[in-house]
Amino acid sequence: MSSNRPRVKIIDACKNFGRIEAVKNANITVVKGEVVLVIGPSGSGKSTLLRCVNRLEKLTSGEIWIDEDCLTAYHADIRRIREEVGMVFQSFNLFPHLSALGNVTVGPRIVKKTPQNEAEEVGRALLDRVGLGDKYNSYPDQLSGGQQQRVAIARALAMNPKVMLFDEPTSALDPEMIKEVLDVMLGLAKDGMTMLVVSHEMGFAKAAAHKVVFMDNGEVIETAPPEVLFTNPQSERTQTFLDHIL
């Protein structure tokens, strides 16, 4: 970790859908270069909270800061902040009418107005980096789930984000494809990318996470380094959850 400046700061975040409180007073800080994993039972609000960090959902109350930018401010430049926050979805959400390279270059070309050949050069390098150097011109429906998710990671990286969000990136994948996606994520973590990951991949947590956050029922129950949280959880609810999944 190069410094202790918080890159993502979630302060007293609350999100209601009608009368349902999906997230209650959540506080999470991700320091630059840190990998934070959020775990918890389904419906615990972890995905909702993650979606608030690039404002696909709006917080009901509370604040989210990306470096010096307050995402929840009334005048926040959402589009500029979103450029700096990469997002990887559970269901990949690749653009089916564009090739792998097209998916990776469309953001820089449309949003950043990068010239096409420059965007393609960067795009090819990113696809090489996620191990898809031979799939530049393949369309999403010609790729396996694992390959699609790696293109999706490359697409997010193409915007050169300060932080990457992963919303259950491996839970839609067949078991034999999970590793190839996790390997890419491990590589990113090793290169110092700041990452906020919703996932239950314990192997990834142990190998790469600096901090694990346990959420239940919309609340952050416990935050600790993985070796502490997994072996010696402070809360009973954490213990019960871990018993179920380990």
């Binding site: 997002m87 959400n93 997010a156 915007m159």
Partner: protein
């Protein structure tokens, strides 16, 4: 009228139940219903003037101007209706309330008034302000009517694209407009192509209504000829056969297009 199959995101297709007769994709018989009607009609159009040159030969030389006019009305109307339809479809899903309301009211009004009445109304309503050529009134009315239908197709098409597409586009920093034009609409076009083809055929048939405004289309030319010569039965036989050949030709084209789209999806 338009139904969206949301069961799987990749094979989204819009089914249209009314409108033109589209050949069944799996009908592979040599004597398919399409072939019987299409080649039967062509054979009749060739045979009738041979067997009975008077009056059929005269009728057939009299009609081509009308066919041309029918195509002019149809093509102008579909082009304008596509533009109106795109904006109506976008308006129908707009999050700005007033735009949404305007688009929805427009669709409701158009759907509730018979096209024939709309034709009269627009012709005479326009006539009170400025005297416009009949062709302009006809195309305006057809555009007004079909713009609403096509708007519903565009709306269904846009809504058939999974929500994750818009989210993924927003997540890389695109504006809603950029996401719509670069990500959503290109995918929508593939989905709406077959139903738009159907509407084109329906419009082509409905264009015969403009003959009541004395636009010299195929039907109008037929009427002129018949009222001069009193060959009513013979003239309208030819008129019907010509319409049939044209619509069957285009419905085959639409079904081939649909088949190609499906095949590409299955790859």
């Amino acid at each position: 009228m338009a139904e969206v199959d949301r069961s799987s995101p990749r094979k989204t297709r819009i089914e249209i139940s009314d409108g033109a007769l589209i050949p069944e994709r799996d009908e592979r018989a040599i004597f398919s219903s399409w072939r019987i009607s299409f080649f039967g009609a062509i054979a009749l159009l060739i045979l009738l003037p041979v067997i009975s040159p008077e009056p059929y030969r005269r009728i057939i030389t009299f009609l081509p101007d009308g066919i041309l006019m029918t195509f002019i009305v149809t093509i102008l109307s579909i082009v304008f209706a596509l533009i109106v339809g795109l904006f109506t479809g976008l308006g129908r899903i707009s999050r700005i309330k007033i735009i949404n309301r305007i688009a929805t009211v427009y669709v409701e009004v158009v759907r509730g008034i018979p096209l024939l009445v709309q034709l009269f109304y627009i012709y005479y309503a326009m006539g009170r302000i400025v005297q416009v050529p009949r062709l302009v009134a006809a195309v305006t009315a057809m555009t007004f009517c079909y713009g609403a239908y096509l708007g519903e197709i565009f709306r269904a098409g846009i809504q058939s694209i999974p929500k994750g597409q818009m989210e993924a586009a927003l997540a890389i920093g695109m504006s809603r407009g950029q996401a719509m034009s670069r990500i959503i609409l290109p995918q929508t076009i593939r989905v709406v192509l077959p139903p738009v083809g159907n509407e084109f055929i329906a419009l082509l048939k409905d264009s015969s209504l403009v003959s009541i405004l004395a636009v010299a289309d195929l039907l109008r030319r037929g009427r002129e000829f018949a009222s001069k010569t009193f060959y009513y039965f013979e003239t309208y036989t030819v008129v019907a056969l010509v319409y049939l050949v044209i619509t069957l030709f285009f419905s085959k084209l639409v079904s081939m297009m649909e088949e190609r789209l499906n095949r590409r999806e299955q790859q």
